[in-house]
């Protein structure tokens, strides 16, 4: 008898391992198939996108990328119709995201440092930022529109950058406060004894030693804002002032009959993030964990 339960457990282990493997494989295929579908379709003619949606292209159409990049994607009855080129949407995104990340990193790092150095005294301000973290963005949408209108910043990617900065500042502040709370203060104190000001110690000692963390935090904010859609749709109003995600949606509604260039646009839109992930996989996963389990 002792042999049979042992054999059963071996079998169970073996089967469970194979099943786990198969499940993992199916799920990994399901999560990555949109990338495959977009990549292959981006090199196909529209008729082949429809007749052969998931296969390897029979004939390559790299001109789809030219059409998407320059916005000349009108086909059929829309032939020759010029849309806003994709690179323009990309520039709007780059502008809004850089302003947003720069603002949030600047203000959030300063605030996080001050909060960490004055944990007791400034506890109420610490709570202010934590409450803002839990705030659903939807509660700000409607007045944001009229606020930006009265500031003359509607349909302005740079103006969107200001709002983006405010949106991620609470998270940057809380993450940086957590980091600075365990920062070794001996060096700062030594500099203070030598007569350096707090600002000098911060700029010359604390910041240079925190480059790694600052990079991680900035990267995840950049990825988050690069992908943002709702606030951009609300504040940029017209699609031709839009960010990259808005451009993708505009392409779909304007040129539904010409599929190849649309997929080329979709592929171009994910190139930066994908390259970033390949180069800095460790830092990015670390950043996402930090952001979720603050």
């Amino acid at each position: 008898m002792p042999a049979s339960p042992r054999r059963a457990s071996w079998l169970a282990r073996h089967v469970s391992r194979q099943a786990a493997y198969a499940g993992l494989l199916v799920w990994a295929v399901a999560t990555t198939i949109p990338i495959w579908a977009a990549l292959t379709a981006s090199f196909k003619s529209t008729s082949e996108v429809i007749s052969n949606p998931l296969g390897i292209p029979h004939a390559l159409h790299p001109d789809n990328y030219v059409a998407a990049w320059t916005g000349r994607i009108g086909a059929g009855t829309y032939y020759g119709i010029q849309s806003e080129p994709l690179y323009r949407f990309g520039l709007h995104s780059v502008l809004a995201v850089s302003i947003g990340v720069a603002l949030a990193m600047g203000t959030g790092t300063l605030a996080g440092y001050a909060l960490a150095r004055n944990a007791e005294r400034l506890n109420f301000l610490n709570r202010y930022f934590i409450v803002l973290l839990a705030l659903p963005a939807i509660a700000t949408w409607v007045p944001l529109f009229s606020l930006m209108e009265s500031l003359g910043l509607l349909a302005s990617p740079a103006g969107l950058g200001l709002v983006y900065g405010a949106m991620v500042t609470p998270l940057v502040t809380v993450l940086m406060r957590t980091y600075f709370s365990s920062f070794p203060l001996d060096l700062v104190e030594a500099a203070r004894v030598d007569g350096a000001s707090e600002s000098f110690a911060f700029a010359r000692i604390v910041l240079p030693m925190s480059k790694g963390v600052l990079t991680v935090v900035a990267l995840i904010q950049a990825v988050f804002l690069w992908n943002e859609l709702a606030v951009a749709e609300i504040l940029l109003v017209t699609p031709d002032r839009g960010t990259l995600p808005m451009g993708l949606i505009a392409f779909k509604s304007q040129f539904a009959s010409n599929l190849g260039p649309q997929f080329a646009a979709l592929v171009l839109a994910i190139v930066p993030v994908t390259l970033l992930y390949i180069v800095a996989q460790g830092r990015i996963t670390q950043g996402i964990r930090l952001g979720a389990l603050r």
Partner: protein
């Protein structure tokens, strides 16, 4: 620094000492002012204005007319608003259950360092970083009843297909499919981080005691990452309830198209139908529901490692 430290430790480190310390604290105000100003203008002010606006009727131009509680009473009777709320709840619950459940299973598998675990982790997490708009649009093309790549795949498997995205009842679940495949990677990476914090000695002890793999996962690993699972579930519930990108990009309908969720409802009411007061009231109610979900969830599954918030 030394002076401040003793001050805080002294028994007199109370109100009086704090007031005395304010002038010295002024220099820290320079550090805090930019963040406070930025968030005050673009986050706090809009929230306060949302509350105020929800009691007014306003087209976005011209005069605002005080409307009392009529916006809220109208919301309660608005069939589209109720449908949108039900859709958001369905979406939040379905996506949370599947993303966290699958995320935990995938994390356990990868934590066991199965062959190719690095490639799996890469492939499963990559979609989390991609723009939701990209995934939503590629899935929307895929679900096209005639030319979609997913439709072709289902036909290849011999499964019939329908125009799911246009279906008023199942459309939201078609959107959920695309959303789930992105966000499972997020749940996975959080749970995986907690799993890798478990000391290997615990696993060795369990193996020596003859505990099998599946039982060990259920009785040892999962209880130890309970807090991570609770946290990620709460995040997923809130993200799911307020999601905008997927529904907007995949369905791109309008008020009353059957696939509305709370966020698209607010968007269409305020910025398409130009009913700013009504949209603000809907946004306020949605935020209240989010707070309610969070409170109920935390009172049931309060993380054990975290004390009552003080």
């Amino acid at each position: 620094m030394g002076v401040e430290l003793t001050e805080e430790l002294s028994p007199l480190g109370n109100a009086a000492a704090r007031i005395a310390a304010v002038p010295r604290g002024l220099r820290w105000l320079v550090f805090l002012a930019p963040a406070a100003a930025l968030t005050g203008l673009f986050l706090v002010y809009p929230v306060v204005a949302t509350i105020r606006l929800s009691f007014y009727n306003w087209s976005g131009y011209g005069k605002q007319q005080y409307a009392g509680t009529s916006n809220f009473r109208q919301l309660y009777r608005d069939h589209d608003a109720v449908t949108a709320t039900v859709h958001s709840l369905e979406f939040a619950v379905v996506t949370t259950v599947v993303t966290v459940g699958m995320g935990a299973i995938l994390a356990l598998a990868i934590d066991r360092k199965i062959r190719g675990h690095r490639i799996f982790q890469f492939a499963l997490f990559l979609p989390v970083l991609l723009p939701s708009t990209f995934l939503a649009l590629v899935w929307a093309y895929g679900l096209d009843p005639i030319s979609g790549w997913f439709t072709h795949f289902l036909q290849f498997l011999g499964i019939g297909s329908g125009n799911w995205l246009a279906d008023p009842h199942y459309g939201i679940f078609a959107v959920a499919l695309a959303y789930i495949l992105q966000n499972t990677g997020f749940a996975m990476i959080i749970i995986l981080a907690a799993l890798s914090d478990i000391s290997p000695e615990i696993h060795e002890a369990a193996t020596l005691d003859g505990v099998g793999q599946l039982r060990r996962a259920r009785k040892v690993s999962l209880p130890l990452v309970r807090d991570a699972i609770v946290t990620v579930s709460l995040l997923q519930l809130i993200y799911g309830f307020t999601n905008f990108d997927f529904v907007y990009a995949m369905v791109n309908g309008g008020p009353g198209t059957g696939t509305d969720v709370v966020s698209t409802f607010v968007y269409y009411q305020a910025f398409v139908s130009h009913r700013f007061g009504y949209g603000a009231a809907a946004a306020l109610v949605a935020s209240g529901v989010v707070a309610l979900i969070a409170m109920v969830f935390m009172s049931v599954f309060r993380p054990r490692g975290i004390r009552r918030a003080g």
